[in-house]
């Protein structure tokens, strides 16, 4: 029988369907792995309430683990503690940047109304002279920015805390 550590390793072969450069481990979506009586339990949490990728992620986990010869698998969904971008690994942030998506910025202003705009450097030319186009981008977890210097439009993986 495999160990929990090996299961974590296997889960690094499951990619986020919407940001395929990230694994679900990079993203912090996998919360727990347990083995009990030869059965593997994987606990995952959604990034946003309406994230349409959860079912797909669940299916992909079962598929990847089945390919590794694991017969009995249960994937559970939990909402609490709620997912935060703080759980994204450093490796994940680096991969996002290389992929052309600006990773979450840590120093966000948490006040809801009239928060100071944050600086999101351009993933292409690294300029800090950029602007927010829309709080809501190509998926619920991203905002839409544009670089004022190289003019590249890009996604920003918004900070969620």
């Amino acid at each position: 029988m495999v160990s929990e550590k090996e299961i974590w390793k296997f889960l690094e072969e499951v990619f986020d369907p919407e940001v395929p450069v990230l694994t679900i481990v990079d993203l912090g979506v996998v919360r727990d792995v347990k083995i009990s009586d030869e059965k593997v339990f994987v606990t995952i949490t959604p990034t946003y309430s309406g994230c349409p990728a959860m079912k797909r992620i669940e299916d992909d986990i079962v598929e990847v683990l089945s390919e590794k010869g694991i017969k009995s698998i249960e994937v559970d969904l939990v909402l609490s503690p709620a997912w935060t971008t703080d759980w994204m690994t450093e490796n994940g942030r680096q991969k996002l940047l290389e992929y052309g998506i600006a990773p979450p910025q840590d120093d966000i202003d948490k006040s809801t109304l009239f928060a100071k705009p944050i600086i999101v450097p351009c993933p292409q030319c690294k300029s800090k002279n950029t602007r927010l186009i829309s709080q809501f981008g190509s998926t619920a977890c991203k905002a839409h920015y544009q670089c004022n210097d190289c003019l590249e439009p890009y996604d920003y993986f918004k900070c969620l805390r």
């Binding site: 959604p46 309406g50 349409p52 909402l79 609490s80 709620a82 109304l113 969620l160």
Partner: protein, 249 residues
């Protein structure tokens, strides 16, 4: 019906109906970015609705699912607020409706995070984070339109004058709410109004919009007495399951 089940349906129905309203903007947004923003927010609401209605199904214990609640209940069994079923109107109406609701939802979820019911607290914790983004979006647009051109100011003012009558219902506490407040599951809803008015006043001042002085107070959504609009929403929302029962894709 048990109070907790009843209130869980209220939360779920608010999310589902407003999510459906916002989804009606898909392909019709005034600009591409807003088309995407409104439908992104719709997705969050439908996700919240799924979480609440899943829990309602557990509480009921009658082998119904969240989908059964969404697709197979009639208007009289829906418990959403009148505000969320009001038509989209122009972009200004949609934004004002959203702002009034987002401000309330943020305050409500901030309290529900401490609910003595773990599932409600968990859904609230999850939803609060995205609700903050929603409120920022809607309040910024109220300001931008209100303090924009003469025409955009007039439209936002008209929208507020029209929707104001539905806002008192957000803070009514009936016997269901009162029972759950005693149990420590939900806050006293009437106590949210003061903070809500603070947010509303702050934004309206910046937006150069006047708060309506009328005191018309409509209610009924919580007991299934809806405006005529809900029936039309359900006709579209439920069409496939009504026409082809149990169909899946």
């Amino acid at each position: 019906m048990k109070p907790l089940l009843e209130y869980t349906l209220r939360l779920g129905d608010d999310s589902l109906i407003l999510g459906h309203r916002l989804s009606e903007w898909c392909g019709h947004g005034p600009i591409l970015e807003e088309d995407i923003a409104l439908t992104n927010i719709a997705l969050d609401f439908v996700g919240q609705a799924t979480n609440f209605l899943d829990y309602a199904a557990v509480l009921e214990g009658q082998n119904r699912t969240a989908d059964d609640f969404a697709f197979l209940r009639f208007d009289k069994d829906y418990k959403n607020l009148l505000l969320v079923e009001q038509p989209n109107g122009d972009f200004g109406v949609t934004i004002v409706r959203q702002f009034l609701f987002d401000a309330y939802r943020k305050l409500l979820f901030e309290k529900l995070v401490n609910s003595k019911d773990d599932t409600i607290a968990g859904i609230a914790e999850k939803s609060l984070k995205e609700t903050k983004y929603h409120l920022r979006h809607s309040s910024e647009w109220v300001i931008r339109l209100g303090d924009g051109t003469e025409e955009s100011n007039r439209r936002v003012q008209d929208a507020l004058n029209d929707l104001w009558r539905y806002t008192d219902e957000l803070f009514y506490s009936d016997e269901v709410d009162a029972e759950l407040t005693i149990q420590g599951i939900i806050p006293d809803l009437t106590s949210l109004k003061e903070d809500w008015l603070k947010i509303v006043d702050e934004v309206l001042t910046l937006a150069k919009i006047e708060k309506p002085s009328n005191n018309w107070k409509f209610q009924g959504g919580r007991i299934g007495k809806h405006s005529e609009h809900l029936g039309f929403i359900l006709t579209e929302l439920q069409f496939m399951q009504r026409a082809y029962p149990n169909m899946q894709w």
